[in-house]
């Protein structure tokens, strides 16, 4: 069961991220319903009813999703507590977080049932109050609830932060659905102007509360780059700025529409789609943030600017591999084998897959990992450059996806040196280790992606719907990197590695949504986006090339 405590951290972040997404959609949907869809329906003609119906559906989906995610979260945390402490599930339900979770779950279920009610007073009581209850309960599971000092002001700021995110980002799915229902300039304006006003209120809530949270949780600039909490906050700020840029673009599009009836409106919809994606990514970053201690609590072992600069100073890539026999586990296994042979006994295993233990690492292990990253970087840079050449119209470069097969083979052999084919642990036995299992799965994905992409390039296969799979998977990949791993009590090496992964994730997210815009936009915007994503790909490769672990 203690192993479960170790492993459940990542799963808990994923569930928490889904909880924030669903919570924002539910609350944002209620706000959209109360401030736009219902009061403005009469201005939208026949589309008004359809928009109302869409908003109710999205809000219900959000509320239902919230109930499911919250139940999963309670179940997971409860299982760990019951398993490790030997207490009953009833005891777990007495905990503050469980009471707050149950309140959120009940409010969400109530909302799924009542969101369709249109009578004003009933709607206020049975939609707005559950939405407020959801936000209040969510606030009780933030850092603020457990703080020793300044608890009240932090609770207010956390409430405001979540409310702002729900009003703005949580309302965008309803906004996009509404835009899809209208065709006349006057209707675009009704929806665009009202949602712009709502968005500004949301942004103001986020900005004001973020300042307060920054002051009490980070405190100084050194905390911003020197701790896991600060780095993740900076990442959130970068995503927030990206969202603001897109929001400002939409604000200008609405103003142009007012002045010029023939102004194009496609960009408004496409930017809003991207806002959903980046906004939801931001929610996963926020979920990740809740699992690390605030920067102000970590006075020692912070990473300095000098250490960051030193670690990221470009050096020649390590293109020569260390000897496999000198790695920690093979060397230990060789010693155990020799001892066993001397005593005519069966040798013990240096490492048991699935034990949950993280083996010690020596300098050779670090060199092995860096070598893997650097060669992978070379592959990725080569693929990116060929993709750019292909974009420039050089036909033979279209076969670049074949490089994936070489990359997959390289990773299959190198990523887990203790396992087959290089190590003594058999292929199937090694799959009991979660990390090895992940690596094998990723290798399989690389082979599949490579073959698919090569088929697209080689045969010109076109499928508009399937084309959106790439940006979505890329964006999910970026979000997964953001939530991947964090330092325990600020171990410097862990944080320095995380500092490398963060720009990788941001480059991936930018590329994914640039590709989305290339597919969904037309004209100049499409052309620009078409160059951006391969360039981001090259950037990912370059970052891998300077990656270092010591």
């Amino acid at each position: 069961m203690t192993l479960l405590v170790d492993l459940f951290g990542y799963l808990a972040i994923i569930i928490h991220g889904l909880t924030i997404v669903a919570q924002s959609m539910a609350v944002g949907g209620v706000v959209f319903l109360a401030c736009l869809a219902r009061p403005r329906a009469w201005l939208l003609g026949s589309a008004g009813e359809a928009i109302l119906s869409d908003t109710i559906r999205w809000t219900r989906i959000g509320a239902l999703g919230l109930a499911v995610a919250e139940a999963a979260r309670l179940g997971l945390d409860g299982a760990v507590l019951v398993g490790t402490l030997g207490i009953t599930p009833l005891d777990v339900l007495g905990a503050n977080f469980a009471e707050a979770g149950l309140a959120k779950l009940i409010a969400a279920l109530l909302l799924t049932l009542t969101v369709g009610i249109s009578r004003p007073r009933l709607a206020l009581a049975l939609q707005v109050l559950p939405a407020l209850a959801i936000l209040a309960a969510a606030t009780l599971t933030t850092h603020a609830a457990a703080r020793v000092d300044n608890r009240e002001i932090l609770l207010v700021a956390s409430f405001l932060h979540q409310a702002g995110a729900a009003i703005w980002i949580g309302g965008i799915p309803c906004f996009v659905a509404a835009l899809a229902r209208v065709t006349h300039r006057a209707e675009w304006l009704v929806i665009g102007e009202r949602f712009s006003a709502l968005s500004m209120i949301g942004v103001a809530c986020i900005a004001a509360s973020a300042g307060t949270l920054w002051w009490f949780y980070i405190g100084d600039v050194a905390g911003l780059y020197g701790t896991a909490y600060g780095v993740m906050t900076s990442t959130k700020a970068a995503l927030f700025l990206g969202l603001l840029g897109l929001g400002y673009g939409n604000f200008r599009a609405v103003r142009r529409l007012r002045a010029d009836p023939d102004a194009p409106v496609t960009r408004l919809k496409r930017f809003a789609e991207v806002e959903i994606g980046i906004g939801f990514t931001l929610f996963f970053a926020a979920a990740s943030l809740t699992s690390v201690p605030p920067a102000v609590d970590l006075g020692a072992d912070r990473v300095s600017l000098t250490e960051i600069a030193e670690r990221n100073m470009p050096r020649m890539p390590r293109l020569e591999s260390p000897d496999h026999d000198n790695l920690t586990l093979p060397a230990l296994q060789a010693r155990l084998d020799a001892e066993a042979a001397a005593g005519a006994a069966k040798p013990a295993q240096a490492f048991t897959p699935g034990s949950g233990e993280i083996p010690a690492r020596n300098a050779e292990d670090i060199a092995w990992s860096e070598y893997n990253h650097h060669w992978a970087g070379l592959f990725v840079v080569a693929i990116g450059l060929l993709a750019l050449l292909n974009r420039a119209g050089i036909g033979p470069a279209r076969h670049w996806p074949l490089l994936f097969l070489g990359l997959a083979g390289f990773l299959f052999v190198r990523s887990d040196p203790e396992a087959w084919p290089l190590g003594q642990i058999g292929f199937f036995e090694s799959l009991r280790d979660v990390e090895v299992l992940q690596h094998r799965f990723f290798v399989l994905l690389i082979v599949i992606f490579g073959l698919f992409e090569w088929r697209v390039r080689a045969t010109g296969w076109k499928n508009a719907g399937a084309a959106l799979v790439f940006p979505l998977i890329t964006a999910i990949g970026g979000a997964a990197l953001l939530t991947h791993s964090h330092a325990i009590a600020n171990i410097k090496d862990q944080l320095l590695i995380e500092l490398t992964h963060t720009p990788l994730a941001l480059a991936g997210i930018a590329a994914g949504w640039a590709r989305w815009l290339e597919i969904r936009l037309d004209g100049c915007g499409q052309r620009i986006a078409g160059w951006v994503w391969p360039a981001c790909f090259v950037l990912v490769g370059l970052i891998l090339l300077i990656y270092r672990e010591a």
């Binding site: 405590v5 503050n96 009780l140 970590l298 993280i358 990116g384 998977i473 890329t474 590329a511 391969p534």
Partner: protein
């Protein structure tokens, strides 16, 4: 289907990343006895102060020892100690009567906001301290 190579790059980055570790939310700010300190034998108050308020009812402190040497990894005697909350809820306290030797104090705490964290601290009991 048009699936970009960048997807692979991100997958690759995940694949190359080091294993995830325990998410640490409630961190130990101070302990009595302090880490690796030596104290005199007898009745000892063990206290742990965290950066978050702790749900003491749903937390656990386990004392392992005495061991002959600090590096001794054999399990030794293991006792779950009753704990009470102190301060504003960020301190948990337990008492034990200890014989000379090396001890390991393992803790698993539930922060009030719902995060579970565990860790350990070591100390020794030495006559004459």
């Amino acid at each position: 289907m048009r699936i970009s190579s960048l997807t692979i790059a991100l997958v690759l980055a995940c694949a190359l990343a080091r294993p995830s570790v325990v998410q640490a939310h409630a961190i130990l700010m101070e302990s009595q006895p302090a880490a690796n300190a030596a104290v005199a034998p007898g009745a000892i108050a063990l206290s742990l102060r965290f950066n978050s308020r702790i749900d003491a009812e749903r937390s656990r402190v386990t004392l392992i020892g005495p061991r002959a040497q600090a590096s001794d990894t054999r399990a030794g005697a293991e006792a779950i100690l009753p704990i009470i909350a102190a301060g504003s809820g960020e301190i948990i306290v337990a008492t034990a009567t200890l014989a000379p030797g090396f001890y390991l104090l393992r803790w698993q705490v539930l922060a009030v906001d719902g995060h579970i964290t565990r860790g350990e601290t070591r100390f020794s009991v030495t006559p004459g301290k």
